[in-house]
């Protein structure tokens, strides 16, 4: 019997996922091009789009072009490697799979395939609260380096339950996303007529109560007194930190002052991210603010990065700009749509080799040698010896 999700995509003129690595994929970013044929147009608009008029989405990509890498010659790289220690664990490389919701949109096996790819490539995977498969089921297929992305739930009981389930299922860290209390919609997805298919649901949350809608009084704002009434607060975060002994990472940091406050209150790590341009249209590129946030938290505090990475040289630029590791969002979905676990694993392997080639050309044998001095700009001090 054909799987329902396959029928959906077929009827939308989208190809089902391949059972092999396609020819003509020469770099990780080729999956972005190829995925157009494997994802139904409305879903593609939703996945590829940012929010509003996609200004921040475009900025996320553009700024990478303005960071240039200075090659170095004759360095001894025979002992080179990409290992790092992060939150008490040794990772073989700094490329992580970002939490991406509702992966059933592009593959019937959804996050299970992604987890298999993570395991096969020694990649740390961050599972979304809004996964299409339960966190328990996904855990059975992932490698040991698996983290859980948390959205604050309407009730603290539900939030605590998620934390406990994640810990029981072997997730090693909690990444709480804070930049989606309110989001501008993607105009492209609206124009494409995207709606979430009824069979794609947040299965992790199915047992939790759904609160009734707030009735606004006259003069109240649908935004401030409506949507934002549910928004998490600094108190909520402080409470969360007490509910788990897993390291807590916050995701969505774009302002140095916020970063310093998170650091001071005991947050274990932070993700500099504008949610891939999906939250505030008009926000700067994540890469643009990264150096200021690194400056604000000091050299030793763990910073992750996402938004806009499509190649190994992008990863190098993010690390040179202050990140310790990066997370891959859209390429993960694109590769999943094209060829399931095989696609995601292949994409990760390509990214890692592109990154290693870039390290070798910049003369860096280890991640710790990657720094702002490797980047060139017309006005920078880098490259002035």
């Amino acid at each position: 019997m054909t799987h329902p999700a396959l029928i959906m995509t077929e009827s939308s003129n989208a190809l089902p996922p391949l059972g092999r690595i396609p020819p003509n994929v020469f770099c990780a970013a080729d999956y972005e091009i190829m995925a157009r044929r494997f994802i139904a147009p409305p879903s593609h608009a939703y996945i590829a789009g940012g929010c509003g008029r996609d200004g921040t989405l475009a900025a996320n990509r553009q700024v990478f072009q303005y960071r240039e890498i200075l090659p170095r010659l004759l360095r001894d790289l025979s002992a080179g490697h990409t290992r790092l220690d992060l939150l008490g664990h040794r990772l073989p490389h700094p490329i992580m799979l970002a939490p991406v919701a509702y992966q059933q949109l592009v593959h019937p096996l959804a996050e299970i395939e992604t987890a298999r790819a993570a395991a096969a490539t020694d990649t740390c995977m961050v599972l979304s609260t809004l996964s299409s498969r339960t966190l328990e089921e996904v855990a059975q297929h992932a490698g040991v380096d698996r983290w859980f992305q948390l959205y604050f739930q309407p009730t603290r009981n539900a939030t605590v339950d998620l934390l406990q389930r994640a810990k029981s299922a072997g997730y090693r860290a909690i990444m709480v996303t804070l930049d989606t209390a309110i989001k501008a919609p993607s105009l492209g997805a609206l124009q494409a007529g995207f709606t979430m298919p009824p069979d794609v649901t947040a299965v992790n949350l199915s047992a939790y109560p759904v609160p009734g809608a707030k009735i606004l009084e006259r003069g109240e704002s649908r935004i401030f007194q409506g949507m934002m009434r549910e928004a998490p607060s600094w108190d909520d975060l402080a409470w969360l930190l007490k509910q788990t002994n897993l390291p807590v990472i916050v995701k969505g940091v774009m302002h140095p002052a916020d970063a310093q406050r998170f650091q001071a209150m005991g947050v274990a790590a932070q993700v500099v991210s504008n949610h891939g341009g999906r939250s505030l249209d008009g926000a700067p590129a994540s890469l643009s603010v990264l150096p200021r946030i690194r400056a604000a938290v000091g050299p030793d505090y763990p910073l992750l990065f996402d938004s806009g990475i499509r190649s190994g040289s992008d990863i190098f630029k993010a690390l040179a700009s202050g990140a310790d590791a990066v997370m891959i969002g859209r390429l993960q979905v694109y590769a999943l749509a094209v060829a399931g676990a095989l696609g995601v694993a292949h994409m990760l392997k390509l990214l890692r080799e592109e990154f290693e080639v870039c390290m070798a050309q910049a003369g860096c044998a280890t991640l710790s040698e990657i720094g702002p001095g490797m980047l060139f700009s017309e006005n920078s001090e880098a490259g002035t010896c």
Copy 2:
């Protein structure tokens, strides 16, 4: 019987205004796209165009892209609102309807529909001297926050009469436009063959005498000794301030020195504006000069802004750059053309929500929290904590 203006537009292959909010309008700026089908091409060229080769028109839009907004996290916005006090009145939000002449060009009921939309959305409307309907008639449909835009008339008697009529009809402020003593024509409108239809007239002025044309002597300039002979002077403005006890606002300020002189002589507020790019082709974007004008007049003096706003994030950027409130010109006309009062009201509701979403994402609960520190640029100090 079909209304004459409808016949005109129909014969021009333009659709008549809808009696409902159209589907597929997802943001305020969508009215700009949709309006192309509801406005006859020559009128559209006149309305959408600026002047000359539209360089300033383009700059007005472009500069918004170079201002980026820094998101903030976890702020308590449950008491958030958009209220402001302006010229002694409490306004529920800082979005005003700019004075736009001859609205019968796009809708048979013209400013009456606009006034109805203003009333329905608690929006302050500024009625143009050159309205297609009399200021008295429009006043019956507008909300309490209605202001009157004044052009100096050829005779002081006519100007005084307009002031008195406006006050009698309940207009609460006088906004005198100073940047149109001379204007470069819109080459686009000329090329499109636009002429004002004979039934679209400045009904407010029909009772006033029209002065004879000035006969130039040999060697005199058609510009300096012709058109500019009628131009208002500083003395005229000083005289005007004595003719009314309503607050007087000047519109069209682009130079800090002018702003300081207006402030010193008792002008109640100023509109930083290049007339939507319709006056001097080659002038900077209004947004470019706004911070310098705010610096010149100090933090507490009321400044309004127009030229180029198409979204709530544009409003946020204008306020962060020094404005207390903004005026909406072209989107007003576009929404009026598409769906009359319903369209204008819908457009205003969308703009306001877009703005509130932006405030929420920037962590601003009130307008007073919006400032230059919310904006990011590669070289700015914002975001450096």
Copy 3:
């Protein structure tokens, strides 16, 4: 009998010049668009092109976009005018006709028509050494403000003879062009197959001897020992200054050090010009270097400007950047091609009114009020009061 030049252009699918001002010309620059139909494509490539890959040609236009004009309000302009004193003569306006060679390429009456337009509009005309009609014939049709552009001739006798003929024919100044000792060819003109028609000749020079070609020895450069052997030197210029009591102006100055040396040796005025992008592809825009040259020669020394002007606001920007007057090259040819003397006169009238409108909007009643403070740029001090 049909004029030979008309036959030539007709056979090239180019329209003959009109006997009237064409409709649909709304600004001076419209002649540039319209001229495409009145000039044979190879000639158009030659006239419109610059040199090399037209990089400097493009720069000449682009930089005007980056100079913005700050509007001023309520200034008394009733005594406004555009008069200036230049080299001892009073000119009614600062717009001059640049020397343009071989005008028979676009009109059978060539420079005679141009001269008529100059006379009709009180415009100072600079006649090229390489005019298609003799300087004596053209003088009969020009106004009193006529200058003669000089190319150094292979023999000093010929140069002296030209000087004397120009003075006898009432030309009031000598403008010696120095930037064409060697020029990069226009690749566009070469690709279009342009060659000078045999009936278009430098009639002013027909009586002078033509020197034999230099035979290069082995190892000599066709450039240095060939073409540049004939190039004028500082000594030649010093000699020239002694041959005439007319004011001598040098044309083609782009470097402040050259400007200072010319000033010190008694040159009466200078033209900041890169020859409309026709000399060195890769040179800066003339407007880019103008402020530095003004700074080098001090505020009172006469500087003219050409290269890139297409509108009255361009003229304003050139004057605000340091020029006392401007010369119009390509628009002159385009208007001549479209409608002969009528076209050139109409183009000049449009330019002048566009310029006066710009002055009025910037609040400048006289040329002396136009200065760098009227220009705005994001980083400039202008507009900071």
Copy 4:
């Protein structure tokens, strides 16, 4: 009998090389346009492409546009020339033929034709280790100024043998390329399906042993422990310097610190180059780093330059930015493909004359007069006297 390479290109719809200089070549860069018809599309993708997404390839060209040349007037250039002394030899001009591998891809006679063009135009040619014809055969056709480009070989014996053969064949300098220990592939060439034809081989290396592939152990990186294990080291370079008394030049320098270390260890000259954008996609343009490298090595140390030159004005800009001479890569191949030795010689002649015209316009009689002061930029000090 038709030559095999010709059959290959004919079957690919590519034209065979012409036996004459084609009409319609008006500048050296025209060979780039024309070559598209003479090179099979996959080979063209390989030759024209850079690496990765060709970002550095594009930057190499773009930066030339941002360097502008200030014209000077009335300089005496009658003794002008382009001679220079380089590594103890007098060269008639500073334009060299860069080492380009596998020229049989575009011409059946390959490097023999290139050598003939070099001899005919007094051009110093640098022959690639990977030439399609043996270094001994090519030497018979080249002029006296011939250098040999060296890739370190897997065994020191092979490297020494190459050095000795080069010296015996009269090559006057050794240029060792250091930036290709690892290269990002050209995605364009991969997409075009390019593979090296079997009859195009590195004939100079046919007698040397090929080492077996390294077997990676678990956890080892294909990049670091694989490809980079063979990479040359500083020790290798020190060893190389002792193996020959010919001057040794290193090629591929992009960082000032590397440049200083090479200079200190006795390297005779360096080539600032990013390998024409073929090594690290994301590296700066070679021209961008050139001034910093000149500053690092001091004014008298010999620096060559390649990457992006297409015209004489590009050569001028490179010399003004710090180079003593330049090398021409792609234009060499394009001209070879179009018309063999005639094409290459014609291209070199055009380049040289374009360069001399540029020198003349900038008022430089000798190479030593070309310096940063000839370049203009909005913010530079050049042109400020």
